[in-house]
């Protein structure tokens, strides 16, 4: 008689590898081997994990179609099964998987569209916080503005892409209308925020992602602006900052010198 540990090991192994026979001792009421019955469990597990990914990556699914998506999702789920029963957190590795997934190589923007969807889900479930009121900065003396450090809103995510991934994502969400996109028109960076209940995805003008990366690292405003300027000659801090404040990217700031 197998121990419970042996039983569950054999059951789980056969569950995720359909090429294996069903384990001995898994039977129907008459004590006979029952592959059709065992297949219910195989099918349940595969379907549940595929559907978890389908609900998190709807634009990717629309771009590649149902059959392709389900095959890709199944292969990902077998290679990287969830490590927690909290499936709203599952799929962090899916964009990187798509990057390595040979059959998707002809869609080089696909992993970045998946990154935007992943950022959207993370923002949706992130901790709540009131966004920083831009008026809070208005009383600050100019000489101290350079030393401001921002606390990022918990929902804030930045997704950089060498492709027009944001345009492609927008065309392939619920109400989107797909149309021609020039893949060589340059990259797009996306800002994902959720100041209140609603997740918003904004286009970040050139230099915006560099500025945010530096601010996320905890650099003061002047140093972060300098970093952005190194990469983008005509970077204008005031316009960027106004846009970020308005979007709800920050939750707080401190103006003390470090």
């Amino acid at each position: 008689m197998p121990s419970l540990a042996e039983r569950q090991r054999a059951f789980a192994t056969a569950l995720i590898d359909p090429s294996l026979p069903i384990p001995a001792g898994v039977v129907d009421p008459e004590g006979r081997a029952c592959p059709r019955r065992f297949a219910v469990y195989r099918n349940n597990v595969a379907t549940a994990l595929i559907e978890a990914l389908e609900s998190s990556f709807p634009a990717v699914r629309r771009l590649v179609g149902e059959v392709f998506f389900r095959e890709a999702a199944l292969r990902f789920a077998l290679a990287e099964p969830p490590r927690s029963p909290v499936l709203l957190e599952y799929g962090a590795g899916f964009p990187a998987f798509l990057e390595r997934f040979e059959p998707a190589a002809s869609l080089p923007y696909l992993p970045d569209v998946a990154r935007i969807e992943r950022a959207w889900i993370e923002a949706h479930h992130a901790a709540d916080a009131a966004p920083l009121d831009p008026a809070a900065l208005s009383g600050l003396p100019c000489d101290r503005a350079a030393e401001i450090r921002f606390a990022m809103h918990p929902a804030l995510r930045v997704v950089r892409s060498h492709y027009p991934a944001l345009t492609i994502w927008r065309m392939n969400v619920a109400d989107g209308v797909p149309g021609p996109v020039a893949l060589d028109a340059g990259g797009e960076d996306a800002l994902v925020v959720r100041p209140e209940a609603q997740v918003n995805v904004h286009w970040l003008p050139p230099g915006g992602a560099d500025l945010l990366d530096a601010l996320v690292r905890g650099e003061p405003l002047a140093a972060a602006a300098a970093a952005a300027m190194r990469e983008n000659m005509d970077f204008e801090l005031a316009a960027h900052l106004a846009g970020l404040l308005e979007s709800g990217a920050f939750s707080d700031f401190s103006a003390a010198a470090a």
Binding site: M1, P2, S3, L4, A5, R7, Q8, R9, F11, A12, L15, I16, A24, G25, V26, V27, D28, P29, G31, R32, A33, C34, P35, R36, R37, F38, V40, Y41, N44, V45, A48, L49, A52, P81, P82, R83, S84, P85, V86, L87, L88, E89, A123, H124, H125, A126, A127, D128, P154, A155, R194, A197
Partner: protein, 301 residues
Amino acid sequence: MAMSRDSNVLPPRAGVGLKPQHYATVLEERPPIGFFEVHAENYLGSGGPPHRYLTAIRERYPLSLHGVGLSIGGEGPLDRHHLLRVKALVARYEPGAFSEHLAWSTHGSAFLDDLLPLPYTTETLSCVARHVEQVQEALGRQMLLENPSTYVAFAESTWSEVEFIGEVVRRSGCALLLDVNNVFVSCTNQGWNPCEYIERFPMPYVREIHLAGHSRDEDDGGGPLLIDSHDREVDDVVWSLYQQALARLGPVPTLIEWDAQVPEWTALEREARRADSILLGSGRVPAARPPRKVPSRAVAG
């Protein structure tokens, strides 16, 4: 908003499994539903719309939390991290009941996202009873254990399912969630008599009932194989088994579960009304059943 203590108790009325597509309707129309139930794992994010809606609905209705990921029948140790997250959720929402399944779903560190069947052996019994005790100790309250839907049996089983469940109750001090659809699905698939199952089930410990729809397939020999699909109305046979159970039990909180192919709200409300009318006709005056404290020292096997 302050809630009265009584709102922590599930009333002996029909409740409905809460789905995101019905949040707005529930808050706008305030339908006369006894309680709502959610899967704990769907509310373990830090914040955002799911918690906003659940908080608003919890302020207006009693709530039941139903876990689908603790893997109580798993041979390995319980996932402490996950258990602590569930504990925090229970503390946050103060549900009228917390329930989990007689099943396993995690192997090694991989979550297999299905309620997998257990061999009914004395070894499994010790494992399940120990895990139920650990959950009750962590949550500081009695939990409800749900009878499973199963599609296979195990050659090594030595206990009947009903006796096994009764013994888990005796050892761990837990209460029970009787899923009447699971009774019919398992009895059909295992060749048991569902009326006998209901007759022998340890009814004094049942605090909640689940009702759901199932689909039909065929097994290896062409016989009927029922699938616990939660994707349609409750079957007429299940309604009559429900009446049989209530005749023994009196009115208990009864949940309509509909998790796939989720219909318009009105279809769920119709099912809830049908359950309510049976509950009202089931005789005995309902007694409020506040959640019991965990026995200070659980009896070990």
